[in-house]
Symmetry: C2
Subunit: 346 residues, 2 copies
C-alpha cells in the first residue's frame, strides 16, 4: 500500500468541509461489535457496561476495527442509553439489547428523568485514552442518540417494531413528551460537549435512529427541532468540531436533516447516494446496505452499485447505511474497507 499524502485526521477534516481528498475516509457504524470474534473474546473479560464505562475496556474494543479492518476513523465504544442512566432511569443490558426497567410514561416519572450536566464523564476519559494509545493518528468520534431517539428508547423500554408506547405518549401527552425532549436536549448537548471538550473528540455523530417511524411533520416537530438545538448549542461550545447527523428514513426527510445545521448528513441504505447529492450540498456519509455484510462475495458489486452516478471524490465518508449486525462477517467488513481503498488504486 503506497504512503498516502494525507494523514487520517487531515482526510477527515477536509471531507467534512466538502473539499477534495486523496480518497474518502471509511468507517462502519457499530464497527466494534458482536460480529467480531475478537469483540466476543473481550466480552468474556468485561461486561457490556464495563466496555462502555471503563476506559481501558472501552479503548480495547474501539481499537479492534482499525487493527482488523483498516478503517480510518475510530469511534468510542459506548451505548446511546448510558446517559439515560445518569438522568435517573434503570438501564439493564441483558444479552440481546438494552432494556429500560422503569420506562417513564407520566408526569410523575419526570423525577427520574432529570437533565444532566456532564463535566468529565467516563466516555471523555475513554476518548483521551484512545487518542493517547494511537498517538492521535486517527480522528476519534464521540456520539449520542438524538433527543427523539433517546425518548423512544426511554419510553418504549424495550424497542418494538412499531414503538407504540412512545407514539401513544406523543399523541396523548404531547406537553410531557416535549418536556422530556427538552431535558434530553440539555443532556445530549452536555454529553457531546464533554466528548469533544474534555475528551478531545475530532467529531461527533448524532444518531436519529428512529426518524423513520414518524410522518414528516412529526419528524420536524418532535425530532428535528431538538436535534437542531443540539447542533446549535454544541457548535457554540465547540465551534471547530464537526457534527454528523445520521437518520433512518432519510429519503423522506433529507432537507429537514439539512436544516439541523449538521456538517455531514448520514443516510440509510434506501436512498441512492446520487439522489442525496442532488438534494443537498452537504457532505454525505453512508450508505452500503448492512445486509451486504452477510456475504463477502457480494460486497464489491454492491459497493459499485452504491456509487453509480455519485462523485465520491469530495464530501463523502464511506460507511454502511445502518449499524453492522451480529450476523455479519468480518471478511465482508474487511472487503468493504478494501473497496474504498481501491477507488484510488491504493
Amino acid at each position: 500500500m503506497p504512503a498516502s499524502a494525507l494523514s487520517r485526521r487531515e482526510r477527515f477534516a477536509l471531507t467534512v468541509r466538502g473539499e477534495e481528498t486523496d480518497r474518502p475516509p471509511v468507517w462502519i457504524m457499530r464497527q466494534a461489535g458482536r460480529y467480531m470474534p475478537q469483540y466476543m473474546a473481550l466480552r468474556e473479560r468485561y461486561s457490556f457496561r464495563e466496555l462502555c464505562l471503563d476506559p481501558e475496556a472501552s479503548a480495547a474494543a474501539a481499537l479492534l476495527p482499525p487493527e482488523l479492518l483498516g478503517v480510518d476513523i475510530l469511534i468510542i465504544f459506548n451505548d446511546i442509553l448510558i446517559p439515560l442512566e445518569e438522568m435517573g432511569l434503570r438501564v439493564e443490558f441483558p444479552g440481546g439489547g438494552p432494556e429500560i426497567m422503569d420506562p417513564p410514561r407520566d408526569e410523575a416519572a419526570l423525577g427520574r428523568f432529570r437533565a444532566v450536566a456532564f463535566e468529565d464523564p467516563p466516555v471523555a476519559a475513554s476518548i483521551r485514552l484512545l487518542r493517547e494509545r494511537t498517538a492521535d493518528e486517527y480522528p476519534v468520534l464521540g456520539f449520542a442518540g438524538s433527543p427523539f431517539t433517546l425518548l423512544g428508547y426511554a419510553v418504549e423500554g424495550k424497542m418494538s417494531r412499531n414503538a407504540h408506547e412512545v407514539r401513544r405518549l406523543m399523541l396523548e401527552q404531547p406537553e410531557l413528551a416535549h418536556e422530556m425532549l427538552r431535558r434530553l436536549t440539555d443532556t445530549v448537548v452536555s454529553y457531546l460537549v464533554a466528548q469533544a471538550g474534555a475528551g478531545g473528540a475530532a467529531g461527533v455523530q448524532i444518531f436519529e435512529s428512529l426518524g423513520h417511524i414518524l410522518p414528516a411533520w412529526e419528524y420536524g416537530e418532535f425530532a428535528t427541532v431538538y436535534t437542531r438545538e443540539v447542533v446549535r448549542r454544541f457548535r457554540a461550545a465547540c465551534p471547530d468540531t464537526p457534527v454528523i447527523v445520521y437518520s433512518r428514513g432519510a429519503a423522506a426527510c433529507l432537507e429537514t436533516m439539512e436544516s439541523t445545521g449538521a456538517d455531514v448528513l448520514g443516510v440509510d441504505w434506501q436512498l441512492p447516494l446520487a439522489e442525496a447529492r442532488r438534494r443537498t450540498t452537504r457532505p454525505l456519509q453512508g450508505n452500503l446496505d448492512p445486509m451486504v455484510m452477510l456475504a463477502p462475495d457480494a460486497v464489491e458489486d454492491a459497493f459499485g452499485r452504491m456509487l453509480e452516478g455519485f462523485d465520491w471524490r469530495r464530501g463523502w465518508i464511506a460507511n454502511l447505511g445502518h449499524g453492522i449486525t451480529p450476523q455479519a462477517s468480518v471478511e465482508s467488513a474487511r472487503r468493504f474497507v478494501q473497496c474504498v481503498r481501491k477507488l484510488t488504486g491504493e
Copy 2:
C-alpha cells in the same frame, strides 16, 4: 347525512381514474382485525384459516368495517401467505402472526415451491358472497402480496426486523431468488385474476410491504420488475379492473412504483401526500400514520396535517399509511372515516 350523488362504486371508479368526485372514498388497510372486539368474537367461532378460506366466515369478517366504521370500500378477508400453501409450503397461523414451517432456502426446496394456477379459489367464492350480501353496493377489493414480499415471508419463515435470511439468499444465490420470484409472479397473477375474474373484485391491491428493506437498485431488480410483470399480465387478463400498488418506503421509490403501471400508488406514513403529488400524476392512496389510531383525540389534528398542501378533491383514496395494529381503537378508526366525510360537509 345527506344522500350522495354518487354510489360507492362510482366514486371508487372515478377516483382511480384521477377524476373529481363528491368526496374521497375511504377504507383502512387490515380494516377487519384484532383491534375490533367484534372480530375477536368471530375468532372465537372460526380459526384464522377458516376466516381466510371459508366464504361465510370470510364475508362475516369483511362486513364488520362497513357496519362499524362506515368505510366505502370492502376488502376481502384473507392473508397474503395463503397462496404459499398452495405452492407447497407449510404455513401455520399461531396467535401472533403466520409462520412458514419449512422455509425454502436452497435449490432442493424448489420442489415445494411450485407456481400455481388458480381457477376458482375459495377467495373468489368469498368475494362473490360478499358482493351478493351487499347487493354490489360496495367496491370489493381483492389483494395479494407482491412477489418480493412473498419471497421475504417464505424465506424468512417468521418475519424478523432485518429479514437476514432472504437478503442472504438474494446475495448468495441470486439466480435461485429470481427463479422463486418468477414462480411467485405466475402464482400472484393467477391469484389476482381469479379474484377479479371468477370473483368479480372491483379492484386489486398488491402489497409491496417489504420495499423499505431494499436499497433502491435492489428494489428495482428484485421487487419492481416482478410487480410490473404482475400488473402487465393482470391488466391483459382484466383490462377494466384497477390495480393499487402499496409500498413501504415509498419516499425512496415512488417513481419506481409508478413504473409498475399501477393505477393508484399507495404510500406509507412517512412521505407527505403533497410531496407525493408533486412527484407523480397517478392517483394516490394513504397515508395517515397508523399510530394515530392509538389515540382517538389525536385523529382530527393528524388528519388535517396529512392533507396540508394536498388537493384531496381528485385522485385520492383515503387510508392509513400501513395496516391498522391490534393496539388501535375502533373509536379512532371511526373518527378517521368521519374526518373524510366532513371534508365535504357530510
